[in-house]
Amino acid sequence: MEITAAFAVPICHARLEACDRLNRELAQLFLARETQEYRNPTPSHNPQAEMFESRFDLFSWPEPCIQELRKFVLEAVFRVAMAASQTAREEFARLHLNNHTWFHITRHTGYFVAHNHALASWSAVYSVKDGTDADGVPRGGLLRLFDTRTGADAFLDLANQRLRQPFVVGDLELQLQPGQLVVFPSYLFHEVTPYYGPDTRITVASNCWFTA
């Protein structure tokens, strides 16, 4: 007998080591550019005063800290996409990776409603600043990735209510730490839960797609 995981969703967790200096520079830059000039002029959802969303051209900025982050994020996306694909590596390596990338600054009670990203294949979220207290107490602001198997747990009995990984049904909640990067398929619905910290939560998000 063999049990296999079908319909699996690839999710990559990566971490940028020694990221304190980079994150400090990024946070400083983003806070300085939390202005109308840099705000996304065509938000896809109702904008909130508690969450600033930048334009989608972040990785075209010339600042060294942006380019350093760009290298880390896009290399990770490329590696994930290649690892998840049956396409031969040498053929995959010739593909061109396109991206829309932006930053979010979230303040007390800010959140982002459940959504996915049309016309992209891979999405990534990098944590610049998690906004937790000095004592490390979580204050919301979770990245929640929704299980694609909606309704799969509608009927539970004693045999299926404690399924083990990778079969367990349920959403994935991530409290991102500074320097942490998550890459997942763009079709996956996700949200950011309300942030209740006293500080700011800062993330960079990217939608990617490959062309010849």
Binding site: T109, A114, N116, H117, A118, P138, T148, T150, Y196
Partner: protein, 230 residues
């Protein structure tokens, strides 16, 4: 072609029923119900916010015990009759079995109140083991100016086909359009939809707390011989 078909013969497939009804409950009833919910929150010995609702990390959301409709309180009993009558009527109308047969089914419900203060929310949830979820609004306030979609019941879009769009599918009309569905709670009104549908209550931006009663509902065939719920 079904009765739902338009002139081109197009019909909505795989549709999820969502109903919002005006129960006709008056202001006095809703005030009594809100007061009953508040009394649960302040009752000694009850777990504090977030302890009963293990998915909630929001101290501004209180979720009460799930035997709310079993209380001996007259207002709770009145609400139970109201929710069950409305749910039965709606669900009977969605069924192909006749009204007489449907009327023989037994309705069961487990309900709890949620009190959501300003800046609080009800996190994403759905409920196994029930077929329907009723959401009754006992109290709601006006959102502060500038806040859109605050304190709404939001049912999540889950059709993954939304990932590819072209110029013809960005602006599809209802019921074909992609996107979450929101319902603004109003005192005396009740929403009803399948319990497996993921949903949330978005952050409340009103000085008046939002008070909702959630009821998981199922219908049981008392004559079912195989032990199932009919």
């Amino acid at each position: 072609m079904t009765a739902l078909a338009d002139q081109s013969g197009t019909v909505p497939l795989f549709a999820i029923p969502f109903t919002a009804v005006n129960t006709g409950a008056d202001r006095d009833f809703n005030a009594r119900l809100a007061s009953l919910c508040e009394s649960q929150r302040s009752a000694p010995g009850l777990p504090g916010p977030g302890l009963l609702d293990n998915t909630s990390r929001d101290p501004l959301h209180f979720r009460g015990r799930d035997d709310f409709l079993d209380s001996a309180d007259a207002t709770a009993g009145e609400l139970k009759r109201l929710i069950m009558a409305q749910a039965s009527t709606v669900v009977a109308g969605l069924n192909s079995i006749g009204a007489a047969e449907f009327g023989k089914l037994h309705i069961q419900a487990r309900a709890w109140c949620s009190i959501v203060q300003r800046n609080g929310h009800v996190p994403a949830q759905h409920f196994p083991g029930a077929s329907w979820l009723a959401v009754y609004c006992a109290q709601a306030g006006e959102s502060d100016a500038g806040f859109k979609s605050a304190g709404v019941l939001r049912l999540y879009e889950r059709r993954l086909g939304s990932i590819y769009r072209d110029a013809s599918t960005w602006e599809l009309k209802s019921p074909y359009c992609y996107g979450n569905h929101t319902w603004s709670p109003v005192p005396g009104r009740m929403a009803l939809f399948p319990a497996h549908v993921p949903h949330e209550v978005s952050v409340v931006r009103s000085v008046t707390s939002l008070i909702l009663v959630f009821a998981m509902i199922r219908f049981v065939d008392p004559n079912a011989k195989d032990g199932r719920n009919g």
